[in-house]
């Protein structure tokens, strides 16, 4: 794990601890409210998941209401990541989460920020500790497809996001 990844993970962990969140699904909207961030759902262009606007008094996350609800949750978590990790340091007022960010003139610094925000979102929505506990307690056999379905439902994340997370944490499938 490099420093940036570590920092993202630690920040998410601290937040979970601070607000005593110990059970899935993680309520990202109420977490945002506690951080004094407004959440609004609105139809945006399809290639935009959402954006964050930083303001002194109250910041706002706008999430694309056309996207599936699990994806909207991931977007909110991702934007909270920008809020926690990058807002102060970069001095930027706007973070736009766009599909083509990566290949259209984005600087390496920006790609790093996006990766970090994704890492933060994964840890926030699927905290390692809680995920491991759920798997142990429920005796889930991760080789079984329906098990990942059940687990994804419990955490209210997409099966794809969960699969990626399980692989990263070296949980589950061994092939």
């Amino acid at each position: 794990m490099n420093d940036a990844t570590q920092q993202a993970t630690e920040t998410a962990k601290k937040l979970l601890k601070q607000f005593q969140i110990t059970k899935p699904p993680i309520n990202v909207e109420s977490l945002a409210t506690k951080l004094k961030i407004n959440i609004e759902h609105e139809e945006l262009d399809d290639d935009v998941s959402g954006f964050l606007i930083i303001k002194k008094d109250k910041s706002t996350i706008v999430v694309n209401s056309c996207h599936p609800s699990n994806r909207q949750r991931f977007t909110i978590a991702h934007e909270i990541g920008h809020f926690m990790l990058h807002a102060k340091i970069s001095g930027k007022e706007i973070f736009v989460d766009k599909k083509y960010n990566r290949d259209l003139n984005s600087s390496t610094g920006e790609i790093e920020e996006e990766k970090q925000a994704n890492q933060f979102a994964a840890e926030l929505l699927m905290p390692e500790k809680i995920l491991r506990k759920e798997i142990e307690d429920s005796d889930i056999d991760l080789v079984d497809d329906t098990a990942t379905f059940v687990l994804a439902k419990k955490f209210q994340v997409s099966e794809q996001a969960l699969g990626y997370r399980l692989a990263k944490l070296d949980l589950g499938l061994e092939d």
């Binding site: 139809e43 262009d45 399809d46 290639d47 935009v48 606007i53 706002t60």
Partner: protein, 110 residues
Amino acid sequence: MIDDDKLYLLIGKNIKSIRNTRDLNQNQFGDQIGLNRTSVTNIEHGKQRVTVETLYRISECFGLDGISGLLPSLKDVQKNSAISEQKEITSGSDTKIVGEKTFLAIQRRR
């Protein structure tokens, strides 16, 4: 090079905007062209690849004389081309290119 995702996305946007001018909701529209509402949504968001015969049915439903009114220009579907309705958002030294809906949503909150 043609960007397939962009192609279907733009076709979908065209369909949606014409449908709105015809005061049809997705259900009514779907009934007329023989698709369910989910397919209409997916086509309008470019998530389902609309077939040529469906494009003709849509043209018929809209009263167009062919399918060309539903199709984007070649330039708009080429890779790395900016879609015509894209706008610039500047924040400090940072510039972002976004579509119109996103642009307006940001402007309203600045």
